[in-house]
């Protein structure tokens, strides 16, 4: 089985998708925006906002950043710590 891209969902986004983690099969390198496009096709995914804070492997990332198999992509709702 080829290595997949792990997508983590938090807080309200996890509620919208009904899941805290989804695995996307990765056919070659992809970008953060391509990952987001695929997540939007999942049940509940259409309710995600147009733009989201994202992280790849624990670091904040932009939509054009590349994502490789084995990477962990996180979709972060607006932060509310502090």
């Amino acid at each position: 089985m080829p290595e997949s891209i792990r997508v983590l969902l938090f807080a309200r986004y996890a509620e919208l998708l009904g899941a805290e983690c989804v695995e996307l099969s990765a056919a070659g390198p992809s970008s953060v925006s391509e990952v987001l496009d695929r997540v939007r096709t999942l049940p509940g995914g259409s309710a995600l906002p147009q733009s989201m804070l994202c992280a790849v492997n624990l670091r904040q990332a932009t939509a054009s950043d590349l994502v490789a198999p084995g990477d962990e992509v996180a979709l972060l709702p607006p932060l509310a710590g502090g």
Partner: protein, 153 residues
């Protein structure tokens, strides 16, 4: 080193960890759970986090502060269920000069709010539940899930 904690935060203990013979001036900031938000009464709340990233961001903030100013820093952020009045976040900064300790402490709390992936789910006295969202009108977005089962307090 863990910056997130599920246990109550002891301010005096945190402050004593930064104080030293060289750095006798200690500035702290503590954020408590308030009993109201956006016109609704708050009953309790829950903090969740993307824990490994939140730990990494907290560590980066502490290191950046200690590089930028001659200070020693401690930082703790609660996770899990909190009641009104509980300490949500605490920062302690010891400096050779108090102005630097004030500057660093203020910068750190701003950075924690800006960079650390933590989310707050508020339970209101009217039974409603919402996610705190500083970018939303009113500061919250309704939670999708049912509030609480009949067994919840």
């Amino acid at each position: 080193m863990s910056y997130l904690t599920g246990e109550p935060i002891d301010l005096t203990a945190l402050a004593s960890r930064v104080e030293s013979a060289e750095r006798g001036g200690v500035v702290t900031f503590v954020g408590h759970v308030r009993n109201h938000h956006g016109g609704r009464g708050v009953r309790r709340l829950e903090y969740s986090a993307y824990a490994p990233m939140a730990e990494a961001e907290c560590q980066a903030i502490v290191r950046e502060a200690e590089l930028r100013w001659p200070v020693t820093v401690e930082l703790r952020h609660r996770t899990g269920r909190l009641d009104v009045g509980d300490v949500a976040v605490a920062i302690a900064v010891a400096g050779n000069h108090r102005g630097e300790a004030f500057d660093a402490c203020r910068w750190i709390i701003d950075e924690v709010k800006r960079r650390v992936p933590i989310w707050k789910r508020e339970y209101y006295t009217d039974g409603s539940v919402a996610w705190v969202d500083p970018t939303a009108a009113g500061g919250t977005v309704p939670a999708a899930e049912p509030a609480e089962g009949p067994g919840a307090r």
